[in-house]
């Protein structure tokens, strides 16, 4: 009986939220509560994965959907939930003292991010997006980043507003706020009337793109992340990116019925993001700026894959990106904190001093650019094969050309950080700068641990052809109609 309660995905949202409220009153132990929530969530998510038998729908308050809010735990959200909660625990482990007085806010963020991934209701998604965004506005102001947080706040509010406008129109058209119900209705009417959906879909896409950092909507990203410490950086780039992009994917799978013109418009935004962001990353010399632009580009790629219905490859690319960026941003933030700079030219040879961290960083980069024997390669091959099968021959070309650019700037980072000396001088330990890097052991161990996981997933062919999606749609529809 106790185990049954623990198997309820609602706990992933409810426990952090409850502890957040408690933390307001019990300020002295707020960090302890944050830790309890993180560990409990991570354990709960793993438990859910272990006992997973098929799609679970949780009706909140006992109201059957589409009248009530439902949480959906299928393979798609299960992966999201596991990766999110485990990453959150690791982020917390490696940020330590950076939390300061933001424990409550982080608890709220954790609850909201889980909610974004799990929810099956459009308005509920809006609520969780807003909660997560507000938490983000607050904790990105850490380290005196007030101006950039304000920028984020203004733009984010606009985004949420547009999204709300879009779902209002959808409610008007379909009479329901449940994503799966809308999908059923769309399938019932065939493909007709997609033109009426143009306005709501554009509103929803734009609204989510602001949070998902696509160009040109994500203009807040540079300000917020270019001087972010490892806690803020990883939360936005790993946690938020994962949740928001999974939500985008969910919506594209259920609600998006696009005309050709709309599909072209959205593709243009995604491809534009990919091209401009990679070029921007290429032109920068600061580690955090390069990484944030790389995240934007990967977000564009993931959205592109979702647009063409390639949900499995998109999830693989997304998970690869999020896990790699977690390692990269943590290292970048910690190096910047310790050495007061993240200009690559100043960091020549830094990995000679912290080789474990260097190995973890290197493996994460190699997975990100999709080199074989790493997980990123599996993701990339799946994505490209999927695009070819969808009949598209130009998108793979663009993706591969931008992959060259991406590889170039990442290799620039790697070769600079592992070697010393100016151009024309042999790289040697003699001209190594004296870096003051203490306390990086824990980071080293965790990065190498993740590196091992990445290599294992890349070598074992488990994920090569695995079908993630076995959502039994008819079963869900039957459950759904039970509420009518």
């Amino acid at each position: 009986m106790a185990l049954d309660i623990l198997k309820n995905p609602v706990l992933l949202i409810a426990v952090p939220l409850l502890l957040a409220f408690l933390a307001v009153f019990l300020k002295k132990i707020d960090k302890a509560l944050l830790w309890i929530a993180a560990v409990a969530n991570a354990a709960s998510a793993v438990l859910l994965a272990v006992v997973y038998q098929g799609m679970t729908v949780v009706e909140l308050g006992g109201f059957k959907p589409p009248f009530g809010i439902s949480l959906v735990l299928d393979e798609y959200s299960l992966i999201g939930v596991v990766v999110l909660n485990v990453l959150f625990a690791l982020i917390l482990l490696l940020s330590g003292k950076l939390v300061k007085q933001y424990a409550t806010v982080l608890l709220v963020a954790l609850a909201a991010l889980n909610g974004i991934i799990l929810t099956g209701d459009l308005f509920n998604l809006f609520v969780f997006l807003e909660i997560a965004a507000i938490a983000a506005y607050i904790f990105t102001a850490m380290d005196k980043g007030f101006k950039h947080s304000f920028n984020y706040l203004v733009v984010g509010t606009l985004g949420s507003g547009l999204y709300l406008f879009g779902i209002i129109l959808l409610y008007n058209i379909f009479g329901s706020l449940n994503m799966f119900d809308i999908r059923a209705q769309l399938q019932a009417i065939g493909g007709a009337g997609a033109e009426t959906l143009t306005l709501p879909l554009v509103m929803i896409f734009t609204g989510l793109s602001v949070e998902a950092k696509l160009m040109p909507f994500g203009g807040w990203v540079k300000g917020v992340l270019h001087k972010a410490n490892s806690l803020v950086g990883t939360m936005i780039v790993s946690g938020y990116a994962l949740a928001v992009l999974l939500a985008v994917g969910r919506l594209m799978d259920t609600v998006f019925q696009m005309t050709d013109a709309v599909l072209i418009a959205f593709t243009a935004v995604a491809v534009g993001t990919l091209i401009f962001a990679e070029a921007s990353a290429f032109s920068k010399k600061n580690l955090r700026e390069i990484l944030l632009f790389s995240s934007v580009a990967q977000a564009g790629l993931v959205v592109l894959l979702f647009l063409y219905g390639l949900t499995v490859p998109a999830v693989l690319v997304l998970v690869n990106n999020v896990v790699s960026k977690f390692v990269l941003f943590t290292v970048a933030g910690r190096l910047a904190h310790a050495l007061e700079t993240d200009d690559i030219g100043e960091l020549k040879g830094v990995f000679v001093k912290v080789p474990l961290v260097g190995v973890g960083f290197t493996v994460a980069v190699m997975s990100l650019i999709g080199l074989p024997l790493f997980f990123g390669f599996v993701a990339k091959i799946n994505a490209l094969v999927g695009l070819f099968n969808a009949g598209n021959v130009w998108l793979p070309l663009i993706i591969l050309v931008m992959a060259v650019v991406e590889g170039a700037y990442f290799v620039r980072i790697l070769t600079t950080l592992w070697n010393t000396g100016e151009e024309g001088e042999v790289s040697s330990r003699d001209n190594l700068k004296a870096f003051n890097l203490d306390g990086m052991k824990g980071l080293g161990v965790v990065s190498v641990g993740i590196a091992i996981v990445i290599v294992a997933l890349g070598i074992l062919p488990v994920l090569n052809i695995k079908q993630f999606f076995s959502v039994d749609f008819m079963t869900f529809v039957q459950q759904l109609l039970g509420g009518m």
Binding site: G223, S283, T416, E423, P461
Partner: protein, 615 residues
């Protein structure tokens, strides 16, 4: 586990050896370097023994390998180069910033080449191809330049991702990844054939270093750590030859494309895509030769000579006939050995003197005579002069060019041959001949473990120049295995359409000529020595005597002819700048610290997306 000798065992063994090399180097650097020596030598022996296994398929997890004749041929050359060069690793351990990583990556690069050459399906080929790239991209910055590695990676990635596009396109069309069957099917389908040819061809051209993708070669080979330059130049570029061989001989391109083309009233002898390859090869020869002549750093010079030689190889492969392919494959073999020997001699000089600048060296023949001999034999082979192996391959290539009536390409090839006399002589005379600088008075000859592989490689150049048919018989087998005609060999003679040569006879006559010249030299009075650095200019003191050293601006009058010509490097630098500018612009325009900018962009894009249809 099945321990029967097979390709997968060799590859798995090399993977294990690379990890072992890393671990042991952490304990004792020399021991770790010895692991690379033993591992490459063992792999070479095993691959030689595997000649009998040609045709069988083996698996390693989800990777599939099959040994073909041409794969075996390329693998043995690669392994020979890696095994010989590995002896130098022992001496470079103290000089490298990351010795453990170097040893591990050295063996991983070797694994990559073997895996690529014995791959059965395209995914395996791609995986090991990329393994070569990322293993070597970490080693190159251990030398003098970090930018060289970025350029190397950018070009290599462009090539391998272009190949990936081709692979996936073919998979989408034919539903399979298996190399020989997919390529043969592609030969029957015009669109697939041209996509395969262009994408895989680009990968091969980039890896070989053929114009216009040659600029990474001198940067990477010239700046890599000394023991790795021979690997890059003698070994890894041959992987490009392998890719080119796939599309030209395995596909094969003369079956895929029409050969019935008329141009200016004459019938072309090759399909148009093959012509494109041959023309690029010809330009490569000219560019490589001219750039080599103007170099002052002798590693960069040998690297540019690799560009020129890549041109010869690609011309031979493009012509896809019996003699021409044989010439190209022989040239791959001869150039691998000669280039490896030349770079190893350079490494020996660096080990003893610490510099590669030609105007700081001189007269080393007195202190390092064996190294001089190794270098001399290597450059004679690269220039294509008998009695070395390089002459045989060049002869075969010239014969086939003339036989096909390709006059302009032959003219470029001849120009390259003559130009190569110029550039191979310069380092020889600047570094080894001339007068010994005082700071190098006590330089010792290269240590015995270094001499051993250098002598081996020189012997190979000589022996296979005198008895080339030992190698040519194997090459003939390789050609017949892919359906090309073989070579006509009789005893020690090679027979072509325009005539035959008997290399053994040539060497005997050459030897006689040498003897006569020696007698004349000994009989006549000797020349008078003049101190080299003892210059004077109307009683002014010279602060920079090295500018007046005869090795500086050696070929100045000739160089002045093409000094103002545009360089390909400028083109690539411009492209890089433009991408950077685009990125900086995007960062400025879209990413501002003011909310207003983003709101404006949101408004514009939303209106654009709605396109007036709803409003």
């Amino acid at each position: 586990m099945n321990f029967q000798l097979s390709v997968s065992l060799v590859i798995a063994g090399l993977f294990a050896a690379s990890v072992l090399a890393w671990l042991l180097t952490k304990l004792n650097k020399a021991l770790g370097a010895w692991v690379t020596v033993v591992a490459s030598a063992a792999a070479l022996t095993m691959m030689a023994l595997l000649h009998g296994e040609i045709g069988s398929t083996v698996n390693l997890f989800f990777l599939q390998f099959t040994l073909t004749e041409y794969g075996w041929f390329f693998s043995v050359i690669m392994l020979a180069v890696f095994a010989c060069v590995s002896f130098f690793n022992i001496y470079w351990m103290p000089k490298l910033i990351h010795p453990a990583a170097y040893n591990m990556l050295y063996l991983l690069a070797l694994t990559g080449t073997l895996g690529a050459f014995s791959a059965r399906d395209f995914i395996t080929l791609f995986i090991f191809w990329e393994l070569i790239v990322w293993a070597s991209m970490f080693i190159i910055p251990f030398g003098k330049s970090r930018k060289a590695s970025v350029t190397y990676y950018a070009f290599s990635a462009f090539g391998s991702l272009s190949m990936l596009y081709g692979i996936l396109f073919l998979y989408h069309k034919f539903g399979s990844f298996e190399i020989s069957s997919v390529l043969q099917q592609a030969a029957g389908d015009p669109t697939a054939a041209i996509v395969a040819f262009v994408t895989i061809g680009i990968a091969g051209l980039i890896k070989l270093g053929v114009f216009p993708f040659h600029i990474w070669l001198p940067q990477a080979h010239g700046n890599a750590p000394e023991p790795f330059s021979p690997i890059l130049s003698g070994g890894l570029v041959k992987a490009g030859g392998f890719a080119a061989f796939l599309i030209v001989a395995v596909m094969p391109s003369y079956k895929a494309f029409s050969t019935n083309i008329e141009f200016l009233g004459r019938q072309l002898t090759m399909p148009l895509p093959n012509y494109a390859l041959a023309i690029l090869g010809a330009v490569s020869i000219v560019v490589g030769t001219l750039m080599a002549i103007s170099q002052n750093d002798f590693k960069k010079l040998i690297a540019y000579s690799s560009v020129a030689n890549a041109g010869y190889i690609i011309i031979g492969l493009a012509m896809a006939g019996g003699l021409s392919t044989g010439g190209a494959l022989m040239h791959i073999f001869a150039h691998a050995i000669a280039s490896a020997a030349a770079f190893l001699a350079a490494a020996a000089v660096v080990h003893r003197t610490g510099t590669t600048k030609m105007n700081e060296l001189g007269g080393l023949i007195h202190r390092m005579p064996l190294t001089y001999l190794v270098y001399l034999i290597a450059i004679i082979s690269m220039a294509g002069i008998p009695p070395m192996a390089g002459f045989i391959s060049k002869w075969m290539l010239f014969q086939s060019m003339m036989g096909r009536g390709m006059a302009f390409i032959a003219a470029a090839a001849f120009f390259g041959s003559i130009g190569s006399f110029l550039y191979v002589f310069r380092p020889l005379s600047a570094v080894f001949l001339g007068q010994l600088s005082t700071k190098h008075r006590y330089v010792k000859e290269a240590p015995p473990l270094m001499m051993f592989p250098m002598i081996l490689l020189s012997l190979a150049s000589v022996v296979f120049g005198v008895f080339p048919n030992w190698v040519l018989r194997i090459i003939s087998q390789v050609q017949t295995s892919v359906g090309l005609e073989g070579l006509t060999l009789e005893g020690t003679k090679i027979i072509a359409s325009n005539g035959a040569i008997d290399p053994t006879l040539i060497v005997i006559i050459f030897g006689l000529g040498f003897l006569i010249a020696m007698i004349i030299f000994l009989r006549f009075p000797k020349s008078r020595k003049v101190p080299l650095m003892d210059q004077y200019t109307a009683s002014e003191f010279i602060w920079t005597p090295e500018l007046l050293h005869y090795a500086t601006d050696f070929y100045a009058p000739f160089e002045r002819l093409y000094q103002k010509a545009p360089r390909t490097e400028t083109l690539y630098r411009t492209i890089v700048h433009k991408v950077s500018e685009l990125g900086a612009f995007a960062s400025y325009a879209f990413y501002s610290f003011k909310p207003g900018t983003v709101l404006l962009w949101v408004a514009i894009v939303v209106v654009a997306m709605l396109g007036g249809s709803v409003l």
